[in-house]
Amino acid sequence: MSISPNEVPFAGTVPSPKTENEGMITGSWRTRRPILDTDKCTECLICWISCPDSSIKSTTAGMEFNLKYCKGCGICNEVCPVGAISLVPELDFED
């Protein structure tokens, strides 16, 4: 909320190839957190390509959420064909 205007990138854009922008941390927008059921997940990458904030990464350990930027929009939950992603109220987590 209270960062200096100089630190805010013009029109919220980030120079390529950066994937994170310290001036636009949006994790505090989230009211529901996406939780992955790894048993159900087939790693089809539909959530990865659908995430508007590019907050889902495909790693060797499976899909991972970047909660620093995840706004909790719930699109991943909506598009998952096997129902592996559920949305849990953010305040259920103490971290």
Binding site: M1, S2, T26, G27, S28, W29, R30, T31, K71, G72, C73, P89, E90, L91, E94
Partner: protein
């Protein structure tokens, strides 16, 4: 830069800051301050209610703020466009306690009103800054009493066709009145549309002293 709270000595001034989630609770934040200030105006107070321009245009879920000022003297700081030292902080949604400095600059004896089903003890764990000036936390389950109304009517100073206090704003304003007595409950009821929700919230709101929470650890 001189802070504007040192520029104006206004002992009678009470500042209300309402935090909400962008777009879907925007009207509710506005309703809380408009209802409280309109009720105070009925009592002959000097009032102001507006939204934070820095937060606008809002996007879905982005934290936005609405402000109110109530004073028994003419408001000198009327062109200061943010409440720097709030006396009353209201959250229209419980998750706002997490990761946002909601209590920034609060004056001693300030109160926090939260729309939540959870106990104040649990919410208090998430509030990391500014609790030394906080007097009490008021929890009210406003979402079970009223629904959030998503409309552009009433935005940017236009007439609100849906009515002041039609949604969540009514129970939250009632909880503020219960906690602070900043206006009389009768005057508040005469302003807001959803009177039943306000009455239930006035009865059911839980007031928890922060001193007790600190002692309990």
């Amino acid at each position: 830069m001189v802070s504007s709270n040192k520029l104006f000595e206004e002992p009678g001034l009470k500042q209300i800051t309402v935090w909400a989630r962008g777009v879907y609770e925007n009207k509710e934040a506005r309703d809380v301050v408009v209802a409280l200030t309109e009720a105070a105006a009925k009592e002959g107070k000097y009032v102001q209610a507006w939204e934070n321009y820095v937060d606008l245009p809002d996007r879905i879920y982005v934290p936005v703020r609405a402000y109110g000022k109530i004073s028994d003297q003419p408001i000198e700081s009327k062109y200061v466009y943010e409440n720097e030292t709030p006396d009353i902080v209201v959250l229209t949604e419980e998750t706002l306690v997490k990761g946002i400095d909601i209590l920034e600059g609060i004056r001693p004896g300030a109160v926090l009103v939260v729309n939540t089903k959870r106990p104040a003890e649990y919410l208090f764990k998430f509030i990391t800054k500014g609790t030394e000036n906080l007097k009490s936390i008021i929890t009210v389950d406003a979402s079970s009493l009223a629904k959030s109304i998503i409309t552009l009517s009433g935005a940017e100073g236009a007439t609100d066709a849906s009515g002041i206090g039609k949604g969540l704003g009514a129970p939250l304003a009632a909880a503020v009145v219960k906690a602070t007595g900043i206006v009389t409950f009768e005057n508040l009821l005469s302003i807001i549309a959803n009177k039943q929700a306000a009455k239930t919230a006035y009865d059911k709101a839980q007031v928890v002293e922060v001193k007790r929470l600190v002692n309990a650890g």
